[in-house]
Symmetry: C2
Subunit: 171 residues, 2 copies
DNA sequence: ATCGTTGCAAACGTTTTGCATAAGG
DNA sequence: CCTTATGCAAAACGTTTGCAACGAT
């Protein structure tokens, strides 16, 4: 038993890291012989100004449009997000058939509650999950790289206003 | 810390159920005023002959092709799989951007280890995960309907033959 | 006779690709 | 210079939809 998960009511705090995301990214690029272009720099900045999960579409929507300065094309956004994931800056997971991204550098490991009514993702942390994960993996001689744990259901607010502005429940 | 997960080395056993999948499905259809067509019956049979996870594409590939008896069109396969999920016969989850299905009736609840090298899904059961899930949910006043827990990494076999027939690692 | 279901073709939304041009190291 | 990166257009991918004909109840 014991304290299974920290108090999850407050937003997650940033954690100490030795390099800024930009420094870490530049190191990554250098190590691989990749280039740090203006698009990549701009996207990194945009992405690290967010503190919420997002998908490629939402990000693109909020970026300068074709013609504006700092315009980044859709393929480049996809290519760059993939690079950020490779660099360990972002974490990717799938939800409702598309990729979601969230900060993975300078933020504590966490998992999600997913409300299938309002589509809200609620974060929580739990040391026990990590312990359990490693225990299961060890018993299978499996080398863990990552995990996803998503609890699906209905959040408190949606459960209350059951018959009002209820949206489609799709899971 | 107590027995966290049963011995997962043997394949999972079927569990006792009061109705056959077909019976349960017919009850579901009747309750909703839906119809039991030859296509649905045939698909149910095909699906419950499997004991492995599958996606729509793999299933369709192994079904009679256009022109043969028992041919079922692609849209009907998708529509019917969705119905099976609604009926509680199948469980759906997403992997690498597409929907995977597995038996959910007459089989114990379980989670997965996913080898990103050979794409193998390994099942395991853990009571602790369910307990933990419910505990986290309760502390958020969240009404759990389901969860997915996938541990990503490299399986024992792939870890050994590192440099031989290694396939792309995509997660 | 209803009304859900089917197959077809065509659309869909997300992500990826080929390719010619641009630009970082 | 050399090679990676970009933008464009178009393709690819898994999945869904509109619709007319079909078939279960």
């Amino acid at each position: 038993m014991s304290n299974p998960s920290k108090n999850e009511s407050e937003p997650l705090q940033a954690v100490e890291v030795s390099m800024t995301p930009l420094q870490r990214y530049e190191e990554f690029l250098q190590a691989r012989g990749l280039r740090n272009t203006s698009q990549k720099k701009f996207l990194l900045e945009q992405v690290f100004n967010r503190h919420e999960h997002f998908d490629a579409d939402l990000l693109i929507e909020q970026l300068p449009s074709r013609g504006s300065t700092n315009y980044v094309s859709r393929p480049t956004v996809y290519r760059t997000l993939k690079e950020f994931v490779d660099a360990g800056l972002l974490h990717r997971f799938e939800l409702d058939g598309r990729s979601m991204y969230e900060l993975n550098y300078g933020y504590p490991e966490h998992d999600h509650l997913y409300c299938t009514k309002c589509r809200q993702l609620i974060e929580f942390t739990s040391d026990e999950i990590v312990r359990l994960r490693d225990e299961v993996a060890r018993s299978h001689r499996f080398r863990v790289k990552d995990h996803r744990f998503i609890i699906q259901g209905v959040c408190d607010q949606c459960a209350k206003k059951r018959s009002l502005g209820r949206r489609q429940d799709r899971v």
